[in-house]
């Protein structure tokens, strides 16, 4: 089964342009954009601010999706990204707001903590052969517990509870404000630039580095990869570790945008991240896909949410429409030949 799909992949570049997953992903995005142009909410859809805000809002999810793409290409899944986001958001807020650390120390510590969580579930998957779903489910629960433990269950905000029961107010750390701001003449949110940087890093890894090719090989046929001398265990650790790392980056962005660290942050974000990867066209069976697809997937999901939001569609119809459109897009991509 897997050998067959490898063969198919090899022959695909020679077929017509419609077979390219990239074109198919773009078509889904265009379909959503057309919906937006049709239901433009009295012209709100044509304002630049709407698009800028869409990119700001989807950035955190898309950063999670970057790591998720790497893991899914190894034929795995990472359910822990949302919890690691919550954990690192709390951690970053404690360091920067309560302890007054420099962000140059706090950010790397948080990113390392996230990467360590990711590597831990990667270790369970690669070394102990626990199914990715179970290993990362455990990490999802564990990291959420960590977030609640380090925060004491409360949001970490600029009001610091003193032992006498009163609150001491601290300034919002400058790093929060700069991450939450917009640059280039107020046209691009800083978190969007971070998202683009993450996309670029993933592209370098997947398209330019040998380890990126190994990631595809492991996902395509693990046994064949092992026999041809690819360090499968290390590659899996690498992918899950990076997923944790990107989750931490997203956590820092989330904290900066909320001006606080919420231990409940990132609940169900893993599902949105998976949806972004899948709607882009990366295959859940592994071995196929790419970061460019995830970029388009992020825009598709982002615009979908934005269009429903500017039209003030009710929650019930919103959920049904989102489900229907995701299925529609995926079916469309499946319809090869």
């Amino acid at each position: 089964m897997k050998a067959k799909s490898t063969l198919k992949r090899k022959s695909s570049p020679t077929t017509g342009w419609l077979q390219s997953p990239f074109i198919r992903a773009l078509a889904a995005l265009l379909f959503v954009l057309a919906l937006g142009a049709l239901f433009n909410a009295e012209g709100a859809f044509f304002k630049w601010n709407t698009h800028r805000d869409m990119f700001r809002h989807i950035s955190v999810f898309a950063i999670l999706a970057c790591g998720m793409t790497l893991v899914i290409i190894t034929a795995g899944i990472d359910l822990s990204v949302g919890s690691i986001l919550g954990f690192t958001a709390v951690l970053f807020s404690i360091f920067c707001i309560h302890q007054g650390w420099s962000p140059w120390i706090a950010a790397p510590v948080c990113i390392l903590a996230g990467a360590a969580c990711g590597a831990a579930s990667g270790g369970l998957v690669a070394r102990f052969k626990i199914q990715p779903f179970i290993a990362t489910l455990a990490m999802m629960v564990f990291a959420r517990g960590l977030a609640k433990w380090v925060s004491g269950g409360q949001k970490i905000s600029t009001a610091v509870l003193q032992p006498d029961g009163n609150y001491r107010y601290v300034e919002v750390p400058p790093i929060f404000n700069s991450l939450n701001s917009k640059i280039l003449n107020q046209n691009v949110a800083v978190v969007t630039l971070i998202f683009l940087a993450c996309i670029f890093i993933c592209w370098i890894i997947l398209a330019k580095l040998r380890w990126g090719r190994y990631i595809y090989a492991v996902g395509g046929n693990e046994e064949a990869a092992r026999l041809s001398g690819i360090p499968v265990t290390a590659i899996k650790l690498f992918a899950y570790g990076l997923s944790g790392l990107f989750s931490a980056v997203a956590g820092i962005c989330q904290a900066a945008q909320e001006l606080q660290g919420d231990p409940e942050a990132g609940m169900t974000y893993e599902l949105t991240a998976i949806a972004i990867v899948v709607i882009g066209g990366t295959n859940l069976m592994g071995g196929r896909g790419g970061i460019g697809l995830t970029f388009i997937g992020a825009m598709t999901i982002g615009y979908l949410e934005k269009i429903l939001s500017i039209n003030a569609v009710g929650e019930a119809s919103r959920l049904m429409l989102t489900g229907a459109i995701i299925i529609g897009a995926v079916l469309f991509q499946k319809a090869r030949k």
């Binding site: 269950g153 989330q254 934005k306």
Partner: protein
Amino acid sequence: MKKRIICAIGLFLALDIFYGCGKRQEVPSTKDESEEKVQLKWVIGMSQCNLGEPWRIQMNHDVKQAAEKYPEIKVIFKDAQNNSLKQRAQIEEFISAEVDLIIVSPKEAAPLTQPVAASYERGIPVIVLDRRVMGDKYTCFIGADNKKIGQAAGRWIVERLNDKGKVVELKGLMTSTPGQDRHTGFREGIKGSGLEIVFEADMKWLEPDARREMESALARFDEIDLVYAHNDPGAHGAYLAARAAGREKDIIFVGIDALPHEGQIYVKQGLMAASFEYPTGGKEAIQIALDILNRKKVPKEITLASRVFTKENIDRGGEWLEEEKSTLKS
């Protein structure tokens, strides 16, 4: 084979983390019971439906703080982790442990009515906090009225805007009763006024969602006078969206809950114009508990009064909403 065993261990651990945490937390609280019993007269069992929401953490905090003042009582806290059956089991545990009184903040009415009644019939008084159980087999219900708070917010907003203006309503989860009551109450409060609701959306109590919905409202309408959010994080998210658009000075933000570390602080910092308190009743529960244990007569039902916090009155501790002040506070 080895693989299977490891999988099984992993699954067991995952399940253990899911279901085990609550139990483990309870161990220390029962350990030192015997030593303290000398001066201790009464043990109170408190079952909280979940500790995932800041408001419920605040409730436990209020109960704890109030109870610390009385050395004759001791409160054992249990967290039902949003599971009705677990909460039911906790009440049964309290009954068999023969505590002197039970405080329960139920997750749902139906599954908890029977165990609460069982306790009541065995002579262990039960105080029901915030959400109701069915029937009348409990000792005392303490709770606030979301509809009245919504109405008060509506009237306050009409007055603040001088009877005209464009309002955005950011709703809490509309499948939950607090969301529905805060919505209908508000609509009753503004009925007949010149206010216009230009945009309403469900932000599901979540700050990031409120920010996204507010961005949409800002994109659509160049003129927005006020945002009414069903909770304070929602109002804060809306504020952040308005600030990003450079419009936060033109818009008034109003929210509900007024937790000390959330809404009250936003009001103090001037981000929000007003926050309406949704009281936890934690302090009142301990007072009522002491009355019951001292064999005093207590009312069957206590509706908690709510305060409004504004920039002007926050240093004085807010202002009680007119009408009914609860029996305890007068």
